[in-house]
Amino acid sequence: MRITRDKRLRHLTLGLGVVLAATACTDPTQPGSGGSTEGGSATQGGPSGSEAGSEVVIATGGEPDSFNPVLGYARWGDGKLVEGLVRLTADLEPEPLLATGMPEVSADGLTYTFSLRDGVTFHDGSSLDAQDVVATYEAAIDPELASPVAADLTALEDVEAVDESTVEFTLSEPQSSFVTATVLGIVPSESLDPEPAASGDVVGTGPYALADYRSGDRVVLEGYDDYWGEQPQVQRATFVFVEDDAARAARVASGEVDGALLPAQALGRVEEGGDYEVVRRDSADFRALVLPESHPVAGDAAIREALNRGLDRQALVDGALAGAGRPAFGPIPPEATEYSEAVEVETDAGAAAQVLDEAGWAEQADGTRARDGQAARFTLMYPAGDTLRQNIALAVQSQAAELGIEVEPEALSWEAIEPRMREDALVYGSGNPYNADLSTYPLFHSSRAFQGFDNPGGYASDAMDAALEQGRSAMDEGERVQAYRQVQEELADDLPWVFLAYVGHDYVIRADAWSGYDVPLVEPHEHGLQGGPWWNLPAWTTTAPSD
């Protein structure tokens, strides 16, 4: 607890908070604050009477705790405000941004050298040089700041400015995914001393600068006149923070926002109205059941097998997710090159029953199963207030009951969940399409068992550890892909988790006002200001006003 008078602590809390930046696609937790409803379709042309379509109002789910990339803002790049050395394209490929090209990598895979673009200035007018890059990365891995970004940079040992426009990164061990991590937004070195600038003062090199920020309410971005690249046509973007899904839907229904992240349940009404276009995106944002190794029922191979084959994932998506999503079988989405079909199974309740019968889990008079006096029953924890996971837990309960397995959902706070992860099953959510290492290593490596929320079931397998380590350090792409295929095969054999669904992300955007919006092929777990059709806001073009 600890009152944050100590400056270090304040850093810490800031750093912590930023992870909140991303709004995972949870739903009505607490009522959101700020924002409101206003009738009519006051879309374009604010008080400034500017050109139609040059302004946009977007309702997002969560508020970033900071706009400082060093504290975790825009972890996957494209912060609009800030830019990294590289960025990820819609096809998930890295391409240079502030760097003039992709880095030169030394033969041993330990040194990465970037050349910086000329003529780039920060929003405060100062120009970008190698020192800014060095300061940004040093802050990101500074243990004092405890930045969440540090997790992506575990192998980074040293960063040096070779000259004004050349930066050299030295790794302690090869990390094949390192380039993906250099999407980190660069901020001026002066803004990091003595502590990272507060949210309202963050400056970057991006096409937009922070014009107004009201915590709990909104942030307004305005085009940066001296941007090194092309000026965005949408010159003013207001993001209002509305945490509650239903409240956001109400705001779209009243026509007061131009775009929003919406729950699938609310899409129907908006689609019928015809004023908005629905943009639906697949994600790598999975939900899975973590089955603790030591549990007599949930840790049993036959029970796991039965759940894996007997749970109807499509029915779960149609019901609990209201159709917004797709079945998931593993942590790596099908779009990723590393994906292996080894994880896929056909739903077959009969086969599941047979597995249970053969393993001695006999059906009893009341339809439930038991073996040697041990009832086929386990508790399934989910975070209280997370409606999405609650729905999943309820659906799993219903479906498992058909198989004779009693699942008892229990809503708990994360504090209460953590100490119980060794004993009870949990509805877990995570996933990103960019970095297979990050979406597997922390979750399945035995060294990460019970570290924070890593490897919550305590899964330990030598074969898995070897595959994960090989994937992390592989320099050869073929070898790396092969390692992650091996990881998925191990998962399919051991079934430490039962993967259920990738949660779909649905967005609406006012029809006929803009074009050129695109969304990443597959979205990660976190998606807030950076996600959705406004992912490439600077590239939007305004279409001629129809009225």
Binding site: M1, R2, I3, T4, R5, R8, L9, R10, L12, T13, L16, G17, V19, L20, A22, A24, T26, Q30, P31, G32, S33, G34, G35, S36, T37, E38, G39, A42, G46, P47, V57, A59, D65, P143, A146, P148, A150, A151, A198, S215, G216, T238, D244, A247, A250, R251, E256, V257, W414, E415, Y428, G429, P442, R448, Q451, G452, F453, N455, H525, E526
Partner: protein, 349 residues
């Protein structure tokens, strides 16, 4: 122990207690004020100390509290390192530090609102004060009118309906009234916004825009308060009419209207002040619930946020603030009551 007239009639359904606490012993109003003002810092000190002591015992993990469910996206070793960094200092030490800083004007940093506690208060307090005072401006006149009518017309329809009616209103939680109002006026009829205080397009705080947003929260809060005022005014008016001066005046042939105004309604107004002072805790409770339902950006809704996120800096400041308000409310109630009944000060508590 002084009991303001009428307070006992409000039924048992208010969310909190009904009796005023601080006993009155001797001395004039000056001594009373002095004693309360001495009590105030002591009380604030004790209350915050208890909070810090409880916090120390709390099983909660502050790192998780700040992170919420996104702790999952954080690297395990990083999380463990953060925890290791948060070495506990003693509760008393924290308490002393907090007060030391608070007295020099530094209330600390609010983790749930991502800014300094001072800024949170400055930004949010006006919204709450506006909401509560607007609701009182509605509920007091309405309460006086309804209660006055019922009190001066015993046995009338209004009088007979008001008792059960007000009881039912008290039995309805304000958050539920709020939801019903949202459903009727915002969702079904579409007349008013569902929540918030300003529109997304509004470039700043525009009066008309805010008024539109304020209608529902103000009316719901006013409705929640209404029963206290109606009942206290009704009973006070009824008692006054039954008193000897009224009978004497009646006998002298003073017109009924003037009689009622000077002898019935006016004496009922002071108990109104008293009940208001005593009801400060309920005012705060109502504000918390109504602000939450309507996403009103006030300080009361921030209380819930700060508790959910274990934001102790803000929680401590809010606790002190509410304590001060309640003590001052009680003081106002006592002073008002003395004006009516000077004997009060002489009684033993």
């Amino acid at each position: 122990m002084v009991e303001p007239p009428g307070v006992d009639h409000d039924g048992a359904l208010g969310l909190t207690r009904r009796r005023r606490s601080v006993p009155i012993r001797t001395g004039g109003p000056g001594a009373l004020v002095a004693r309360r003002l001495v009590l105030l810092p002591v009380l604030a000190g004790v209350v915050t100390l208890v909070m810090f002591l409880l916090a120390q015992r709390s099983p909660f993990d502050p790192v998780l509290a700040v992170l919420g469910e996104r702790a999952l996206t954080l690297d395990g070793p990083t999380l463990e390192a953060m925890r290791a960094r948060l070495e506990d200092t003693s509760a008393v030490q924290q308490w002393l530090t907090w007060w030391g800083n608070a007295l020099t004007g530094d209330l600390g940093y609010s983790t749930s609102q991502r800014t300094s506690v001072g800024t949170v208060l400055a930004q949010r307090l006006p919204w709450t004060i506006g909401l509560v005072s607007a609701s009182l401006l509605v509920s007091i006149p309405l309460g006086v009118a309804l209660g006055g009518w019922a009190g001066t017309h015993p046995g009338s329809l209004v009088d007979r309906v008001i008792g059960p009616g007000m009881l039912s209103v008290q039995a309805a939680p304000p958050f539920w009234l709020g939801l019903v109002a949202v459903w009727v006026f915002a969702v079904t009829l579409g007349w008013l916004p569902t929540g918030g205080a300003t529109s997304p397009q509004a470039s700043g705080v525009e009066l008309l825009d805010v008024l539109r947003h304020a209608v529902l929260p103000v009316l719901v809060l006013a409705l929640a308060h209404l029963p206290w005022f109606v009942l206290v005014v009704r009973d006070a008016t009824r008692d006054a009419l039954a008193g000897a001066p009224v009978h004497a005046a009646w006998a002298r042939g003073i017109p009924r209207r003037r009689l009622l105004r000077s002898h019935a309604v006016r004496p009922a107004l002071l108990p109104l002040v008293t009940v208001l002072g005593v009801r400060v805790p309920e005012l705060i409770t109502g504000a918390v619930l109504v602000e939450t339902v309507f996403s009103w950006p006030g300080i009361a809704s921030a209380t819930v946020d700060s508790a959910l996120r274990l934001d102790f800096a803000l929680l401590a400041a809010l606790t002190v603030l509410t304590t001060v308000l309640v003590v001052l409310g009680n003081l106002a109630a006592d002073l008002a009551y003395r004006l009516v009944d000077p004997r009060v000060g002489q009684r033993d508590g």
